[in-house]
Amino acid sequence: MRTKTHRFAGTAAVGVLLLAASACGSSNNSSSSSAEGEAVRGGTLNMLGAGDVDYMDPNVSYYSIGYLNLRMWSRQLFTYPAVSSDATTAVPDLATAIPTEANGGISKDGMTYTITMRKGVKWNTDPEREVTAQDVVRGVMRTCNPVQPFGGTPDFADLIVGYQSFCDGFAKVGQSVDAIRNYIDSASLPGVVAKDDHTVVFKLTHPATYFVDMLTLPAFSPAPKEVLNYLPGSTSLGQHEVSDGPYQVDTWDPTKQIVYTRNPAWDSATDPVRHAYVDRIVVDETVSQDSTQLQLQTGTDTADMEWDNFPPPSQLPNLINTDDPNLNLGESFSTNPYLVFNLESPNNSSALNDVRVRQALEYGINRDHIIQVYGGPDVNTPLTQVLPPGIVGSEPNNPYPYNPDKAKQLLAAAGHPDGLTLKFLYRNSSEGNRKAFATVQQDLAKVGINVVGVAVPNADFYTKYLQVPDAARRGTWDIALAGWGPDWYGNAALSFFKPLFSGQPSFPPLGSNFGFYNSPRTNTLINEAATATTESQAAQLWAKADVQVMKDAVFFPITDPKQANYHADQVNGAVYIPAIQNFDPTNVWLSSDAQGG
């Protein structure tokens, strides 16, 4: 999914007092330290952030902060566990076991998945009611509702039998609650069927070794019938959500606060994934990035964890150098940021359509310089191919080591000995973006390329530029700075290649192939890898696709950044899960002397 590129959110000046407090805070922290050992139940977990969820609706949310929120109250068939060594291997959540051919979960031809659900998992309805296979079917159906469809449907639209035609029909029914309810209750989706109350059967159009990982998407969460009384993704639905997880949304004041309290219908015996030690979670969405870091460091009761504010990049070197135990640098398995080239730009007589010109850019942009202004190699591992390490199919490949002379030669060979003028599109509110632009501008000047900045507001970046095909075709931009993370983990190469590089179906506005790359060879490789019958076969094919995309020089990968997270001293058992970009709040406990706030 699309990720924010590094945000260097600024803040108004904080008083000298807080500066002094932070200086004193680091010495205070060493005394208490995490009380490992017996977990303490109870207390209020305070999370500090600056932003809100995208949607309070599991079948529609497509953003990391939305996922963090869903971790508290929405369960899926499979999910990622809070196991620090292995937080990217899916485990059963609502399902009883990972389906395999041996246990009958996967048919011989790999195209039918039969999944058995746990008994005794309840919704917090009145009276409490079991979560059933019909709820799972309803959830999948809601993903392509006409009001607010889930943004990741291209990943599986042609994978689940009958999904595409179900959605085509759904798009025609209008945007009222009644019309949506009627369609879901009456239309059929042959690819997702409830064989009985506790068995779901998925039928696929081709074998997909990544299917179980894909089912960790919150979009595949079950949906109780009560949610059909509200418009999908709406605020009123968010105020009346139904929970099957350890917590429930007690109050939601959009952009201000979320309060989660214990869900009385949750039975810990049915949930091997979440321990839910704390009684209450309070999310404050009005805190700046700097203030969050300061509060977490001073060890006050009212500041325990981050919500969507991460440690300010300027302070990371210090935290790293002092070996602060409350800092975690986790793998993100993403490519963020990266530079995408507009192959359809008419500028410079369509220079970017010529692969030699793009390869000149690959040789002429200095990756290490950009990494330096983003915080250095400690926090930003250089990435020189499509797939970051850890994703099935990733193989190290560095086809374009920095070489400005070679860049100049290629430009001359392509008919541009006097250089070019290229437009660089970036978000003006992001300090990281601004610095990346200045760095690329200075480096490409050495190769004879004049880079001109097109700084746009955050809100316009996708909606007016990248997702608008006309903007690219008119040449409003030549290079853009974007970011991408996987939708799920492990066997997740599909969620990179399909939305970014798979030709016509991935063109904007439906997909994120902003540069309009369309290579028959790459498209074939992607199809073969997606339909491979074994994981090792898939891995080989993804690697080949990776090499081809790099050869065609359609984008410039920069880094697979580490995700930095910080927690206060009193938080114990914090395990980082890449899928929520944070420590797992449903598995932390607070020291007994710091339960309040």
């Binding site: 260097f8 803040t11 300027s314 070197p317 202004v373 250095g376 300090e431 200045a438 200075q442």
Partner: protein, 320 residues
Amino acid sequence: MTVRTGSAPSRTHAPDSAGSSQEVAGRSIWALGWRRLRRDRTAMISLGVIVFVVLFAIGAPVVAAITGHPPNQQYRDTGLSPAGLPMPPSHEFWFGTDDLGRDILVRIAYGARISLLVGVVATGLAVGGGVVVGLVSGFFGGWVDSVLARIVDVALSLPFLLLAIALVSITGPSLTVTILVIGFFSWASVARIVRGQVFSIREREYILAARAVGVRPLRIMFAEILPNVIAPVIVYATLLVPVVIVTQATLSYLGLGLEPPTADWGGMLSDAQGYYTTSWWFIIFPGAALLITTLAFNLFGDGVRDAFDPRSEQLVETWR
């Protein structure tokens, strides 16, 4: 003994304290004002600081040449830590570097150009426009005055920041837009002052005489009235310059300033926000430059006001 009576002599000989006689000459308001100003230590020091800042701005290329660092050149090896943090003041970078490894001292010098340019030009536009409107409004009176006075009222009630943000987001950041926007929001106060002043002298005998004789209105306004109302305008203008400088820095701080990588004090302060815990020089030096310049203009303006009209402190309406 007989005493002279009657006409006041233009020259008399009066003994001074040293015993020798000295001519006492009638002086113009300008000469008197300048004399009073010269004796005001604070004002003179402030004037010196202003002159220094102006020279510093003019000599920005010289500063760049001395240090050997162009203002927009990023020094990644010596000017940035490996983790991308700014480097502190050192032998090579006297004021340290910013978050892209650029020399802060040189950027302050080039930033002074922007601040002074906008300060002077926008003030000039505001004063020019305000004087014309105030003169016309005050001299003609009647319906002309009614219409113009209402226009001035409307201009004074426009919410500056909101409109500035809206305008710049349409047109994009540029020096011209900044100058025009600030100038546009400042002329109305000047117009009000001038109008009030004109009203107070338009019934004087020499004005009435000029009108009776048939002197053209334009000539009366600019040759007779203007010189007699200009003093408060000059005071106001001197006090307006620092306000304009700070306003421009504010706009730039909010991201409505100039295109990157142009060096400008407000922009530097905005960039420095994220580094105040790790790199104090990044905020202190541009902040000090802005503070010192603004303070100097303010103190000099106070001195000018005291020199030209020491009796009336409330003569000048403070700009909202």
